[in-house]
């Protein structure tokens, strides 16, 4: 059995305040390569909060999040940023592309930050991803010159830029029409087909979740059996 890429142990996230709010409580999750996991649950149940913990965007109040076996909650911000850059890819409900940059430039940006590839190789990889996602002719377009579906595919390409081991998607089809949503889902499915990568997708759409290998249902911040 392969070691999990991401694992949480009793991960709890509480927001302090006059009335403390528990976003995630005692969650144990394990994500392995080749898995396509859907996190489902009603609105406000803590799905996205769990995804943020898995993606090292947030720190657990108690418990631990392991990325490739490394305990991450005590790491400094820079180390966590480096792990995100090299190991994780994010796709959000909104594309969150940088508006002043073209599709290709947006995809290249994480590669430039990581500096693993030469400048020439970065451009080649960006073009390859654009081609794989059917956006070959849109390389020079800025986000405001593309449709919602195209933008979301560029966002996926950007998430894949550094060849991450885990892609974390938060309602990736939430703002798309059925056809575009279907296309995005196909792409996410393809990502795990090689068995090298895992995808964790948050959705409230049970039909979409049914396409995943495994579903984790969250209610009131806890995993519901």
């Amino acid at each position: 059995m392969r070691a999990p890429l991401i694992e949480t142990r009793n991960a709890t996230r509480i927001i302090a305040g006059d009335v403390p709010a528990t976003l995630v409580a005692d969650v144990d999750v394990s994500v392995s390569a080749g898995e396509f996991i859907a996190i489902i649950g009603p609105s406000g149940s803590g799905k996205s909060s769990l995804l943020y913990l898995l993606g090292l965007l947030d720190r657990p109040t108690s418990g631990e999040v392991y990325l490739e076996g490394v305990a991450t909650s005590a790491l400094d911000d820079d180390s966590r940023a480096d792990m995100r850059l090299a190991t994780l890819g994010f796709v959000f409900q909104f594309h969150f592309l940088l508006p002043e940059f073209s599709a290709r430039e947006n995809i290249i940006l994480p590669m430039r930050a990581l500096r693993r590839l030469s400048e020439k190789a970065q451009v080649a990889r960006a073009d390859m991803l654009l081609e794989q996602l059917g956006l070959k002719d849109h390389a020079h377009k800025r986000p405001d010159q593309m449709s919602g579906g195209q933008r979301q595919r560029v966002a996926i390409a950007r998430a894949l830029a550094n060849d991450p081991k885990v892609v974390l998607a938060d309602e990736p089809t939430g703002n798309l029409d059925t056809h575009s949503g279907e296309r995005v889902l196909e792409i996410l499915n393809d990502l795990v087909s090689s068995g090298q990568r895992a995808v964790v997708m948050v959705t409230h759409d049970l039909a979409l979740a049914a396409r995943a290998d495994r579903q984790i249902r969250i209610v009131d911040g806890r995993i519901a059996i």
Partner: protein, 411 residues
Amino acid sequence: MSFVLDIALTHLRSRVRQTVVGVLGVATGVGFSIMMAALMEGSQADFIRQLVDSLPHISVTDETRNPPRQPAETRYDVVQIDGLRTPVVRPGIKNPMAIMASIESWVPGAIAPSVQAKAVIRYAGRDTATSFTGLDPKREQKVSKLATQMRQGSLDALYKATNALILGDGLAKKIGARVGNTVTIVSGAGRTLDCTIVGIAHTGVAQIDDVSSYGLIKTGQILASQIGLVNELRIRVADALQARTVATRIEAETGYKSVSWQEAHEDLLSAFEVRNIIMYTVVGAILLVASFGTFNIVSTITHEKARDIAIMKSLGFRAKSVRRIFVIEAAAIGLIGALIGWGLGYVLTRAMGSIEIKSPFMDSSTIPVLYSPLHYALATVVAVASSLFAGYFPARKAAAVEPVDIIRGAS
């Protein structure tokens, strides 16, 4: 190009109007700072140059810093002396030629003897006080620029008439005398001489031109009723800035009071120092105000770009990379503003330097300005430093953004 620099420049390019306003703010600050420094230092340099040109660099007189020691003071430990009177006649410098030869042996420059006397010029029924200098025209040409400052006649004309006299143009105007007129000089010793005006001099310093008159040493000796008198040695050193050091050594060697041009105008030079402090404070304030524009722009961009910052951090950008983006933006505004400010400052300085003026304190026909690379360098350093300072705080705030807070709010 670094991706951080790329993002920073893209932000600035995409906000052309705001960027232009910020850059122009800095450029205006830098431009006016350069102009102001050029004007202030220009007028100062012009004034000092005229002072240095019109007077010898060092004046050795027949006085001493402290009164001569009385015999009783040497004999007894404690003495009270009352009723001492200074001699009516100036003693003059003893063995002036030997002292001159001694000074000439080590001072790089030139030396000339002179006789100073207070007198009154009588002309057309009016008496006007004058400061008479008896000089050696040939030597004088080497220690002062009097020969080149003649408006009418020449310094050598002093040889061409009996009791020839050159007047400062202010004095000539005051008494209404012209070249060729004969005036009467009455000395403090009571001697009266009829002198012929052979020239009019103009040093450019009103306080000199309004009271000075020049004749031969012999004329001065006659006015002082002391044959062979030399009561001042006038020295010009190769490097005017070394005058103070040279004067100190001469005084130590000869015992005679030796005053450099710096000491003679100590009050004026310290006034210039105060003026410079005020100037640089005002210049700094101008550039600091300009930096508020930079702060405003960078703050606006960080506010508008909060979502982009969050997404960059979620992708794995380090906080310092985000901070650097906005610090670079501030620096770019400061630097581009400073470069444009150079051009503006030069044009403003040229424009101010071409304005014609008539000042009783200066000889210039136009406002004197000083072009110095130091002004440009200082304005640039202050402008860029102010911009960096102004940009740092919003940049730090941007770097502290928690991506999850923004993403949660945007979703």
